[in-house]
Amino acid sequence: MSKAFSIPQRQSAIGILLIFTSTLYKFVRGFWAALAYFVFKRPDGEALLYISLGVFVLFILIAIYSYVDYRKFLFHIDYEAEEFILKKGVFNSDFVSIPFDKIQQVNFKRGILQRIAGVYSLVIDTAGSKQKEVEIKAVNTEEANQLADILNRLKDGKLTDAETSEGVIDPELTTESAPEEKWTYRLSLATLIKTGLSSNFFRGFGLIFVFISTIFNELNQFFKEETSQWESQFTESVGGIATSSIFLISTFVILLLVLSIFITTAEVFIKYFNLKLTQTKSSLDLQMGLRTNTRVSLKPIRVQILKIITNPIQRRLNLYKAGLWVASSEESNNKNVIQVPGLEKETVQHIKSFLYQSAETESGTTFKPHWVELSRRLIIGAIPVVITAVLQYFTHFIEFGWWVLVTSIYVLLYAIFQFRIYNSMYLRIGEVFITKSYAGWDETIEIVEIYKLQGITVKQPLWYKSRNLVHIVFHNAAGDITFRAVDKAILEKINYCLYSIERTNKAWM
């Protein structure tokens, strides 16, 4: 038994077909435009012959590629080195080895083709980006079960506290009988509506924009003739508006604003309806949602970054949003943050004390960005002004007076915004935590425990050398925290952070 999978072996032969279809799919996806062109153009005679010949050759090439890929794809378990080993690659040769204890999960996946062929795709997950997971496309049911079973046992056997992968930190807690509720927070209907109304409307704006443009596109495609007529009418009237009536434009803007407030509120309502947050002895349980009921149970160790967000209006209403960022692979971006809006300050403190055993924000050394950071932000903001100025000069796409009006409003708002961000931005490195804070419209505080960092990058552009400035990037399993243009004196603290990461034996996940 212990020798199972110890000899390098190939996947099930049906894998050739699976590789073939997935490669073909990639080709089609890459060249769909060309394909569509040929389909619509309906080539005839000689051209058709050449095209079908080309497609035929392509098929053969892909088939050969699939076969070679299949032949080169070898995996086995090295019991002595305690690693899962995979060799693959047609042109390059890749050699991947995953130590047993780095395996996070062994999953089965099954597409339609795999279902028909009676095989499974076995995915070995190690937290991190896409390249870090290994997928064996075709393994028959029996072997898949066996392999998953062996890998699961190997990875657990290696871990002294087998529960670590599930996120239980304190073994004592698991021995405790029933999960006891410590406190519960329910989001009332009134608070939910308040939260919705005081949320950031930019998202609402974006949604409307996407919605309108999608509809416009659809209309364009299906009623080409009708729209052209309608369009000419529309442009006529819009042109009329643009030159004459400010009144109509402002009505339009207000209408848009009301609509976006409405949409944002509705979104908040649907997403967070009936939100209930409960702290048990070892986890934070969250339930919410009108349409799809979300249930999450979080152990403190899984939370990588805590973000506390509010804005001037919400702060006055005592409303805060907590974002709990957990580790996940890069593709499933939307899944790795759990947002809990509509919290009172007190509840935020509850969450903090649950996650970090203390509600207090510790002191530490505070760093501010150098003023070149502000000038960089202002220069970036000036780019659209310059571009529109050039366009206006050459094409007169908008009347000069209008341009001055719009530009000065934009410049004013942008400058105020950037000054506010620059003034409020700081990074604090304490003994246990790194805290980054900044405020544009939203006021955000990001908190990460130093021992949960994965690595640190120090960047120095050539032109910052004389000023002795560096950018610092703290890499965390839930994302990076970047702090720009800070004095090199911070490196002492970076050495301290590295020291903290390296001396700890605590599991970070």
Binding site: S97, D101, G128, Q131, G455, H475, A477, N495, Y499
Partner: protein, 174 residues
């Protein structure tokens, strides 16, 4: 913080005496790496020139020369950057972490602790095989930002490093 929960809050640490990663002598990579980069850029040069000739034959001289001209300028900048970058590649392995420095216009130094490495792999492209080079990839859970890719290593050294790192990873986890 609750002092019971933090194992090191009792001892004062003199931060100034902590080892400084900036003061480290770094190992250079092989000179062949520049050859590899130049060969890669060379392939692009040929493609751009071929495109230019094609546009010329199609009598689209203005657009053709504009596009291929700007592409050539960009490639020339790349060559300049590769040449300047070459001596700046460096890596070092300390007792508990790995340091990799690279970059000319923006110099980047990444430090990854052994107890955060997920796995290590060696990758060899066609150019690598010709020039007898290896690329060592070190993956962490911190996403592409903290993944380290050291290219231009001698294959034997890459293999040795991989073994050494695998050993360190195993030790760190006990």
């Amino acid at each position: 913080m609750d002092s019971v929960e933090t194992p090191f809050s009792n001892n004062t640490i003199d931060i100034a005496t902590l080892p400084d990663f900036e003061q480290l002598a770094l190992q250079p990579v092989r000179k062949n790496l520049l050859t590899k980069h130049l060969l890669q850029t060379g392939v692009w040069f040929l493609l751009v020139i071929a495109f230019g000739v094609f546009m010329y034959s199609q009598e689209e001289i203005l657009i053709g020369s504009l596009i291929s001209g700007s592409l050539l300028l960009f490639l020339m900048f790349l060559v300049f950057d590769f040449i300047k970058k070459q001596p700046r590649y460096g890596y070092a392995i300390r007792e508990k972490d790995l340091i990799y420095k690279r970059g000319f216009l923006v110099s980047k130094t990444t430090v990854v602790s052994f107890n955060r490495i997920q796995h290590v792999s060696i990758n060899r492209s066609v150019f690598d095989k010709w020039l007898n080079l290896s690329t060592l990839k070190i993956f962490t859970a911190g996403g592409s930002g903290s993944d380290v890719k050291i290219s231009g290593l001698e294959p034997q050294i890459a293999e040795k490093l991989k073994e050494a790192l695998a050993g360190k990873i195993a030790n760190e986890d006990v």
